[in-house]
């Protein structure tokens, strides 16, 4: 099974290989795409959770930083970026 974004190492860029659009709601999927989270895009997970929680996850996409929940990140498969 491919690694998912919710467990990806912080600070290391990864490439999105697949997103399980069917498992998320229509609106959720659209907002992810509006943020630019799509197959083939490179993202860097930056910060994860606070105090007693693994939620949420802050990512860098290009020059933008966005916050998503771990639940959504778990539907995003990632692969190492090409060296």
């Amino acid at each position: 099974m491919n690694p998912k974004l919710d467990s990806a190492q912080l600070g290391v860029a990864v490439r999105i290989s697949r997103i399980d659009w069917d498992r998320m709601s229509h609106d959720e999927g659209r907002r992810l795409r509006e943020f630019g989270l799509m197959e083939g895009i490179e993202v860097t997970p930056l910060h994860r959770g606070s105090l007693f929680s693994r939620d949420p996850l802050a990512l860098a996409i290009g020059r933008m930083q966005v916050i998503i929940r771990a639940r959504q990140a778990a539907m995003i498969e990632v692969a190492p970026t090409a060296p």
């Binding site: 943020f35 930056l46 606070s50 105090l51 949420p56 802050a58």
Partner: protein
Amino acid sequence: MTAAIPTIALVGNPNAGKSSLFNALTGARQKIANYPGVTVERKAGHASFADGRPMSLVDLPGSYSLTPASPDEAVTRDVVLGRQAGERRPDALVVVVDAANLDNHLCFALELIALGLPTVVALNMLDLAERDGLTLDPAILSRELGVPVVPTVAVRKRGLTDLLAAVDGAILSHQTQATVQSAPPPSDAALHQRARAIARAATLSENPVRRWTQRVDAVLLHPVAGFLILLALMFVMFQGVYAWSEAPIGWIEGGVGALQGAVDIALPDGFLRGLIIEGILGGVGSVIVFLPQILILFLFILLLEATGYMTRAAFLMDGIMAKVGLSGRGFIPLLSSFACAVPGIMATRAIPDAKDRLTTILIAPLMTCSARLPVYTLIIGAFIPNTNVGGSPVGLQGLVLFGLYLSGIVGALVVALVLRRTVAKGTAAGFMMEMPRYQWPRLRDVGIALWQRAWIFLRRAGTIIFVTTIALWLLLSYPKVPTDSSESQVDYSVAGRIASGLEVVVAPIGFNHDIALALIPAMAAREVAVSALATANAIEAGDDEEAMAQSLSERLQGRWSIATALAFLAWFVFAPQCISTIAITRRETNGWKWPLFMVGYLFALAYAAAGITYWTAVAFGLG
């Protein structure tokens, strides 16, 4: 049609600087802050072209596309597509994009340009793009997009003249060439690909993203340290509210006292002198003295908003908010409710999930708004010793205030938990939010916003608090107690008798006649509780020199037990005593159901909290 004043709408992604541009062009003072979702309503203003022809400018909520995810974004779609009831479709669009984030902002820009309206792109925040090491070519961008592109720095009013000229030109040339091409909308992926390609073409040179903001975030968003810093910031805020306001409060008190003295000498004893000294100066003056504290509180909130820390706070709070079925997104309206619940409730429009939003609206009044400060401060000042906790620099009074704020927050979270399992049941709310870059607060903007708050506070004091206080003074002064009666004037008056009726209901939770008297007019606004106590006190003191010389808090010390005072504080943590909040809740939920529900549950909580506090305190011998 050419004779009509053209309407020009500012559209774009959240936090692109639309409102800053709107303010710069119209001279308006729309709220500006460094987080997405600040503007939640359509707002129109007047501006003019270089030759003086007028135009109507419309500021809109930010959005990522024409498919809305939340109520505020729906407004943007409706205005742009001309679906807003009673509104003409705009004659031109100014698409505001963040120069440092073209990859993303050009997507919405492309969608808007495809509508075929006369369009100009404002390439805003060019200064930040430079700070981040980006060099852009507006000419290439313009060629690729097919519309004029004007570089702007909204907050420094740069590029405004060029922008207006370009808008003028776009409207003119659009009238001569009437071809509108309509292609099927591209897929999200195709749109993004095109946006990235254009951004790459327009980027002449690019340094790697600057790292200092990431180092700051490594600390501020640290799972443990970041959270402690957030708590520390809030703690400093409440200590500051006390520590830094002492001197200015003294000046205002001195001023009001001097005025009272002057009126006392200038006017003969009678109706007018009583009204001015006891009612107006005593009542309204007792509220105005809290202006410094309120401004200090606002200064903190404004700084948090302007720097971009607000979204970081939302990030840190999301874990806790998620446990009660809300999201970090809701933390922002809740934090602004510390200032006032009314704009806080308005700000919930940026929350996508309807149940999440409803719950946030219903708990917003539990956040300690600035109107509670006068009540808290008066009682804390009178009953909590002004000492430091065990030799530390932490003041006990500030600590109690912090505790009251914390009670409100904890109460809100518990209520949210219950609501999300009962009346506002629904799937777990999501949390997706863009995190803005850090910015230095702009002194001018902060200054203006502070001045606005001061003005709003003084206007409140001059209107709703003034009127309620005078009405109360009249009800307290008549009928006059007969000279041979042993009853006091206050007890004998109309208001006093009404209060005696209410006292029966609130006596079990430790409330005395003073409090019963203050509670009813405080329904209009919480601060009135303070002015009501002050007015009743002034009337009671009458011409008794010794009593007049005592301050309100000294008089309260003599009349209330500590248990009663604590119960009174607990009551105000929960009680929904604010007409404006009830009205805005009705408007935002489209009916009376939820505001009535809110008032009901809050009064029930207030009664229980005051009761429990009182009985506990009595058990500890403080009765």
